[in-house]
Each structure stands twice: as structure tokens, then as C-alpha cells.
């Protein structure tokens, strides 16, 4: 017989630790259908064989079973619809009063409950005492002391929980409410619920008494019955001078206060706890912001600039590139050889002189090349020469061409340059190995292309982000489980709530400046679904690392590398987030009651390494599984689009197809009119924008420096703005899909980003043109209309916020 047990409890009560202790590695992580709330299931250790399987379902961390938060509704529906055989209610022993509030609601469901009082080691250390037998008698269910962290009492808990589940004994709540409430409840049961199963009646009666809309809807009551019970509720409310919801809540807490006095003895009241001491500094009025800034700098520095970059570079250039030196063996020897080679053959005075002249003449890229020569960085020189070599060669009849001075071979590579694979222990990358293997078995050209560029490239695109993500997820797990994340929300709430975001939205945006994919994944720490969706939609507006080459390209090609282009891109991103936040907050999709920000500041505690690693792995693997398919498929489609095409009227395949002849080019040609009002309605710009979906840096690959001849600065900036703000790369779209857990919301997010990007580019190009004298009446009118609409949405009063104020004052 298969048994299903639900695990319920407050957030921060040690639920995750207990779940891990009970299920071990036997876990399945997913989402509750249609919502962004995570669902975890696992088979209990030692009970996973087929005939005596015990499945544990981890409910979201909740404080109550009210109908107002998504997590609570999800939990309620699960308990009512799926009817688990038992509920394990985990209770934080050091915070008994509030934790028991949920217990008083769980025991009313009629499902057998077993209460596990956690953190008993801390309770005992504090010198406090809990009389579990007495508590058990008062609650009417078994109470077991455990310490999930130390594994104390876990086996006992499993055995008893299974025993309770198998017994199938109906749970009867021991507490009762005020006489007049009980009277009304009895009436409701008789009038409405008498033909429902007996064990569900109590819970439903209380919910009807509270006028719980979700339960009224569920029971499908007609208005006659509702008005009948309404008189009972009303008379009770009049008698107790409060509304029914408040009556029930107050009564529960009064009941808890009455039993806690006899079961729990606290020794040292009034003494400062460790958490109090930490918070004296960490949320101090003056120190809080500097400390927050330092923590964020550390997170950014490690997960984006240092370790994160090494990890991503290794994954992209090593594992999914040429290859890498195992444990770095041989890399310093190679570096020495490369510098020596460059010193003798490339960093010569005449080349430096030529570049200096070219730089004076204002040739694009000469500046960057010169820097690499001055810094004697061969790798950087190779890369810069790849980008700008052609520019130098053709400008002013080749006056500044340095190619004749360089030791180039027939393919344009550097002749006799040292080969990294000849030094130390060289591990070739997966593409190199795959190519060797495929060539060895005489694989057809197109198939080899599909496997190498389509599939291996696509898988690389998915996995390339994983190492950096792992680093970031360790930080997130640590900040969350130690308790600092709640303080971040506390400190930053005032700023972010103005834009419909949470104080916790700061982290996704900060990480998004490195890479949008982990940035979007980081939004999972935000509890409120609306804030989370808003964060997911706006995180990729911040220019990520892959967008930097686009900014550099436009800046170099059209603005002579003026200093303000790059900062303006970040400013544009931040402005896009703020404007979108304010506008979206007022749309139908985000309207409704504002989310209450009534948040617990949990006690600080040191998380275990095991829990952090597990949380890290859960997030990373769910990205690989859920986002991976989208990324892989779209990479293959784009690859096919660029390799198949029509040359001289014949449909052909070629791995180095001219981009204009490919299917991609044909599509680009067909859609480029869309971009005419933005000033870049040419085929290359259209293709570049499509290629940007694969990875933003691909835009640069399509768009060499030379292609900007004849493009105005305004058009260039409009192109930049569009590519920064429009739909992100496939990897980020996959992450959005994973986190939204809804095709509808994913589509809405992508569509919004594209429309917003289009509107911004249109305004930049058309209004900018009008100001510089090349006026286009129709374009200008369109741009002004867009601007007026945006302005209207920005200043339009926010209805829901008004409603709240009225409510509060009434």
C-alpha cells in the first residue's frame, strides 16, 4: 500500500532540513501546476520499495490556511483534494506561539496530524522546558521532539507518522471557540454541510464562518443558503463586536496563549539573543546600507567577475571550445612561449608606429589594438586584430594596413605561433573531440554540421552558464538560509516597492548585469508571486556581459568611443526597469490588492554545507532540464537557418553560407521593413537582431565594423537601444519559461520586452531626428503618441493603492 504524507510548517521552521533528512536523495523538484510555487516530493528513506512506499509531499512554508496568499491556497487545495494519509506538522520549538497557530488550523482538517517540535537542541540549550505530553493532550495529536539538523528523533518520527497514517483514525481538534462562535458553527454545519463527510465539516464550517470566498466558490453554494448563514455570522459578530475573521484569529491565539503557559517554561526572558546582537549592527540605521553594499559587492565580485568568469570561460572556451590545460598544468609555459613569440614577431616598433598613426587618423579599432600592443597581451591582440584587421586594411587605400608586417599564414592565422595543446596536459574541448570522431567515421558534411554546430553548440549554450550559476546559487542559498535575505527585503523595501518590485529584486538585477540567466533564476527568492513575475520580466533590461560587445561596437563605429555611450546603456536599462515597473503595476495583469509586506525576520543561524549544496544543485538541474530543451531546440533551428539557403536559385546546404543567401537572410530581408521607422531597416541589422536571440554577442559577429558606413549615429543608437531591451537570448528565455512556469506569462514577458524596446527605439530615432533637423512628420507623430501614452501610464493614479488607503482609514 502506498502512503502519502504531507509536510507542513511555517517558513524558517527547518522544514527543508527535515525534508532532506527524511527523504535523502530520493527527491523530485517541480512546480505546483500553473503557478511559480515550487513543489517537492520524495520517498521516505527505508520505505521506498514498491509495496511499502511512503511518499512525502513538502508543502510551501506557510503561516496560516487563509485564502489570500498563493502558497496557502496551494497547500489548502492539496490537503482538501488529495487527502494525504497524514500531516507532519513541523514546529519551531524556539518560536512556539506563532508556529502553533498553523497547528490549530491543520488539526481541524480531519486528517491525522503528528507534530514534530524542531530545534529542541536550541530550546534545551537556552534552558527552556517543553512538556510534550501535556502539549500532545491539549492538541489531540502526537507530539515528538526532534532536531532535524542533528538528526535526533527522525527515525521515531517516521515510524510514528506511518503508524498514524496507517491507522486512518480521524483527527478531532481539541480546542473550541467562544460559545457564540460554536453556536454559529453548529448552525452552519447543520444548514450546509450535513451531507459532507463528517471529518471535513469542522474545517469547512469555520471557513464559511470566516466568509472565505474560495471555500464558498468550492462548495458552490446558492445565495439563499449564504444569506441564511449570514444572519448567524452577523449576530455572532454583533455579540463579540468584531468581524468573523478577526474573531477566529484572536480566539486561536488566545487558546494558544492559554495552553502554552502550562506546557512551556522559558528561563531567561529579556536577555539579548545572538540574533538581537547581530541585528543591532546589520539592520542598524546607519550601518545597514554600507553593510548591504559590501555584501552585494562580495556576491558580485565572486559570482560575476572572478570565480564566475573563470568558470564561464572554462565552460565556453575550454570544455565547449578548443580545450584547456588540466589543473592549469602547462598554461604558464604556454603563456611564456606566446609572449616570447609575440615579443619577437608582433610587438615590433614599426607595428606600434603604424597603429599610432592609424589611431591619430581616427581609424576605428586602432586605439584598442594599440592598447594590446602596449600591454603586450598576445591573446587580446589576436582577438582585436580579428575584429578590426579588415578595417585597417581597407581604410584610406590600405595606408594603415599592418598585415604585411605580421607573420600571417595563408589562412590569416599567425604562422608558427605556439600551440597551447603542445604544452602541459592539454584536454581538448568537446567540439574538437566530436569533430575528430565524426571525421574519422566519414560523417556527411551536413550531419557533421548539425551535430557540431547545432547540437554540441546548443548543449554548450545550455551548460556554459551552469558553472557560474552554481557559484551564484551557493551565495543565494547561504544568504537565504542564514536569514540575511529577509533583512535585504527589510532594508530595500522602501525603494523597490514604488516600482512594483520587492526589496529582494535587487539581487536578480545585480546578477543580471553579469548574466541574465542566473539573474532570472535568482528571482526565486522572492516570495510574492507578483513581485517575482515583475522581477523576471524586467531583469534582462540591465545590460548583461554579452551585450557589452554590442555597446562597444556601436560606440567604436559610430561615436569614436565616446565615454558616455556605455554608461548611457546602463542608465537606459535602469530607466526601463523603473518605467516598466510603474506602468505594469497599473495593468490588468498586475492589478488587484497590493501584496502585504508583513514579513518575519527569522533568527540567524549557520546553514549546513549539505543543505546549501543540495539547494544549489536543485536550482541548477531544474534550469538544465526545464530551460535546456528550449535552448537546444532554438539553437538547432537557428543553425539550420544559417546553413541552408538558396544559392543561384538552388536550395543548398553549406557550412559557410553567405548569410544573405541563407534562410535566415531571407527571413531577415522579409522582416527588415519593421525596423525602418527605427532607422535600421536593412537586412544585416535584421539578421543581427535575430542572431542576438542565440546569444547577444552574435550581433557583433554578423555586424562587422564596416557595415555601419552610411548609418547615422541616431540610427545606430536606436539599434543599440532595441537590442539591449528586446527579447533576451534563448538561454534567458528558457530561464524565464522555467521561472514563470506558464507559457502565457512567458509569451507576455517576451512580447512586452519587444514592444517596449520598439517604442523606446522609435522615440529615440524619430524625436532625435526632429531635433537634428531631418524631420519625418509621420514618424514624429507616432513617436509623440507613444511618448504621450507612456507618460499617461506613468502619471495615471494607481487604483489599487488608493483602495488600500481608503480601506485603512475606514
Amino acid at each position: 500500500m502506498s502512503i502519502k504524507i504531507a509536510l507542513a510548517g511555517n517558513p524558517n521552521s527547518g522544514k527543508t532540513t527535515l525534508f532532506n533528512a527524511l527523504t535523502g536523495s530520493n527527491q523530485f523538484v517541480g512546480n505546483w501546476p500553473g503557478v511559480t510555487v515550487e513543489k517537492k516530493e520524495g520517498k521516505i528513506k527505508g520505505h521506498s520499495s514498491r509495496d511499502d512506499e511512503v511518499v512525502l509531499v513538502d508543502l510551501p512554508g506557510i503561516y496560516s490556511l487563509s485564502p489570500y496568499t498563493l502558497e496557502e491556497v496551494v497547500s489548502r487545495n492539496f490537503l482538501l483534494d488529495e487527502k494525504p494519509n497524514a500531516i507532519i506538522n513541523i514546529i519551531d520549538g524556539s518560536n512556539l506561539e506563532r508556529n502553533l497557530y498553523l497547528t490549530t488550523q491543520l488539526v481541524e482538517l480531519g486528517i491525522p496530524v503528528i507534530a514534530a517540535v524542531n530545534m529542541m537542541d536550541i530550546v534545551r540549550k537556552n534552558g527552556d522546558k517543553l512538556d510534550t505530553q501535556k502539549l500532545s493532550k491539549e492538541l489531540g495529536c502526537e507530539v515528538i521532539e526532534i532536531s532535524a539538523l542533528k538528526g535526533e528523533g527522525i527515525n521515531d518520527l517516521i515510524e510514528r507518522a506511518i503508524g498514524v497514517a496507517k491507522s486512518g483514525k480521524r483527527m478531532v481538534a481539541q480546542h473550541s471557540f467562544d460559545g457564540s462562535v460554536e453556536h454559529a458553527l453548529a448552525h452552519i454545519e447543520e444548514a450546509v454541510l450535513h451531507d459532507m463527510p463528517e471529518n471535513e465539516q469542522r474545517f469547512l464550517a469555520i471557513k464559511l464562518f470566516e466568509r472565505d470566498e474560495k471555500v464558498i466558490e468550492r462548495l458552490n453554494l446558492d445565495s439563499k443558503i449564504i444569506s441564511h448563514i449570514e444572519t448567524d455570522i452577523k449576530s455572532c459578530e454583533d455579540e463579540l463586536d468584531d468581524d468573523s475573521e478577526s474573531i477566529i484569529t484572536s480566539e486561536r491565539y488566545t487558546y494558544i496563549a492559554s495552553i502554552i503557559g502550562s506546557c512551556y517554561t522559558k528561563r531567561n526572558r529579556g536577555k539579548l539573543t545572538v540574533t538581537d546582537k547581530i541585528d543591532k549592527i546589520v539592520t542598524n540605521r546607519w550601518l545597514a546600507l554600507p553593510i548591504f553594499a559590501i555584501v552585494m559587492i562580495i556576491v558580485y565580485y565572486v559570482s560575476v567577475t572572478t570565480v564566475g568568469t573563470w568558470a564561464t570561460d572554462w565552460a565556453n572556451d575550454g570544455l565547449f571550445g578548443e580545450g584547456w590545460h588540466l589543473f592549469g598544468i602547462g598554461s604558464s609555459e604556454y603563456d611564456d612561449a606566446a609572449s616570447e613569440y609575440a615579443e619577437n614577431k608582433i610587438f615590433l616598433p614599426e607595428i606600434k608606429k603604424a597603429l599610432e598613426d592609424a589611431n591619430k587618423a581616427g581609424i576605428t579599432g586602432a586605439d584598442e589594438l594599440l592598447t594590446t600592443v602596449k600591454e603586450k597581451d598576445f591573446g587580446a591582440f589576436e582577438e582585436a586584430y580579428g575584429s578590426y584587421g579588415e578595417e585597417l586594411a581597407v581604410k584610406e587605400n590600405g595606408k594603415y594596413d599592418i598585415a604585411p608586417m605580421l607573420p600571417l599564414d595563408e589562412d590569416g592565422g599567425f604562422a608558427d605561433a605556439p600551440d597551447p595543446s603542445e604544452y602541459g596536459v592539454w584536454v581538448p574541448g568537446i567540439p574538437v573531440l566530436a569533430e575528430k570522431g565524426l571525421t574519422a567515421i566519414n560523417c556527411a558534411d551536413w550531419l557533421q554540421g548539425l551535430i557540431l554546430d547545432g547540437i554540441v553548440g546548443g548543449v554548450g549554450a545550455v551548460l556554459g552558464f551552469v558553472p557560474q550559476m552554481l557559484v551564484l546559487f551557493i551565495f543565494l542559498a547561504f544568504l537565504e538560509s542564514c536569514g540575511y535575505m529577509a533583512r535585504i527585503a527589510f532594508i530595500m523595501d522602501r525603494i523597490f516597492r514604488k516600482f512594483g518590485l520587492s526589496g529582494k529584486s535587487f539581487i536578480p538585477m545585480l546578477i543580471g548585469s553579469g548574466c541574465g540567466v542566473p539573474g532570472i533564476m535568482a528571482s526565486r527568492t522572492i516570495e510574492n508571486e507578483r513581485d517575482r513575475r515583475m522581477t523576471i520580466m524586467t531583469t534582462t533590461f540591465i545590460p548583461c556581459g554579452a551585450k557589452l560587445p554590442i555597446i562597444a561596437l556601436i560606440s567604436a563605429a559610430l561615436f569614436n568611443g565616446t565615454w558616455w555611450v556605455a554608461p548611457s546603456a546602463y542608465f537606459l536599462g535602469i530607466a526601463a526597469i523603473i518605467i516598466s515597473g510603474i506602468i505594469l503595476k497599473k495593468t490588468k495583469m498586475f492589478a488587484g490588492d497590493p501584496a502585504p509586506f508583513v514579513m518575519e525576520l527569522p533568527a540567524y543561524h549557520l546553514p549546513t554545507i549539505g543543505n546549501i549544496l543540495r539547494s544549489m544543485w536543485e536550482r541548477a538541474s531544474s534550469f538544465i532540464k526545464k530551460a535546456g530543451t528550449i535552448i537546444l531546440l532554438s539553437s538547432i533551428v537557428i543553425w539550420a537557418g544559417s546553413c541552408f539557403g538558396i544559392v543561384d536559385g538552388i536550395f543548398t546546404f553549406s557550412s559557410d553560407m553567405e548569410i544573405e543567401d541563407s534562410i535566415l537572410g531571407i527571413v531577415g530581408n522579409a522582416i527588415c521593413w519593421i525596423f525602418t521607422p527605427l532607422g535600421f531597416g536593412n537586412i544585416k541589422a535584421a539578421i543581427a537582431t535575430i542572431m542576438g536571440l542565440v546569444a547577444k554577442e552574435e550581433v557583433v559577429g554578423v555586424f562587422g565594423v564596416l557595415d555601419f558606413e552610411g548609418m547615422t549615429r541616431l540610427a545606430g543608437y536606436a539599434f543599440l537601444a532595441f537590442n539591449l531591451l528586446c527579447a533576451p537570448c534563448f538561454a534567458a528565455i528558457g530561464a524565464i519559461r522555467r521561472e514563470m512556469n506558464s507559457p502565457k506569462w512567458t509569451a507576455f514577458a517576451i512580447a512586452y520586452q519587444c514592444v517596449f524596446a520598439y517604442a523606446v527605439s522609435l522615440m529615440i530615432y524619430q524625436i532625435g531626428n526632429a531635433l537634428t533637423g531631418s524631420l519625418n512628420i509621420i514618424g514624429l507623430i507616432a513617436a509623440i503618441l507613444v511618448a504621450a501614452f507612456m507618460l499617461y501610464m506613468l502619471v495615471k493614479p494607481c487604483k489599487s493603492a488608493d483602495k488600500l488607503k481608503i480601506k485603512a482609514k475606514a
Binding site: Y63, S64, S66, Y68, T69, N95, L96, E97, R98, Y101, D242, D243, E245, S246, T249, S250, Y253, T254, T275, D279, T283, N284, R285, W286, A288, L289, A486, F490, I491, D493, R494, I495, R497, D593, P594, A595, P596, F597, V598, M599, E600, L601, P602, A603, L804, K805, K807, A808, K809, A810
Partner: protein, 73 residues
């Protein structure tokens, strides 16, 4: 009417009743701020909002706008 918003930092006050309705009110009550409970106002966030209070032995943060719903004695 004296509300929690008017109470100063460091004060301990007793809740008289809760005003308003809907999600925010229910949430405040679910977190333990009910009639008759003692609330200690601990601190204000660096930017002036929200506030941190101690109630039923734990730390809770809520916005000033929401604390206006809580009438105190």
C-alpha cells in the same frame, strides 16, 4: 485614534483592535498581531520604512502604511 504608526521606537504598546479588511489585515492577524497582544517597536529601517516589531516572541517587519490599521491603547 492612536495607531501603531504613532508609537515611538522602544515603546511597548497593547493592541486595541484592527481596522480595514482583506488580505493585509488577515496577514497581520495571522502573524500574531491580534486584540490584546503586546507589541514592542524595535526599530525603523534605514530608509525610514518599514518598521521592525517584536510580537509573541519573534521579530516582524511591517510597513508604516499597514501599521496604521492597528489601533493601540
Amino acid at each position: 485614534m492612536q495607531t501603531l504608526k504613532d508609537a515611538g521606537i522602544g515603546q511597548t504598546v497593547k493592541v486595541k483592535r484592527l481596522h480595514g479588511e482583506g488580505a493585509v489585515k488577515r496577514r497581520i492577524m495571522d502573524m500574531g498581531i491580534t486584540k490584546g497582544v503586546e507589541v514592542h517597536i524595535r526599530k525603523v529601517a534605514p530608509l525610514g520604512d518599514p518598521i521592525e516589531v517584536t510580537v509573541r516572541g519573534y521579530e516582524l517587519s511591517l510597513r508604516k502604511a499597514d501599521s496604521e490599521m492597528i489601533e493601540i491603547e
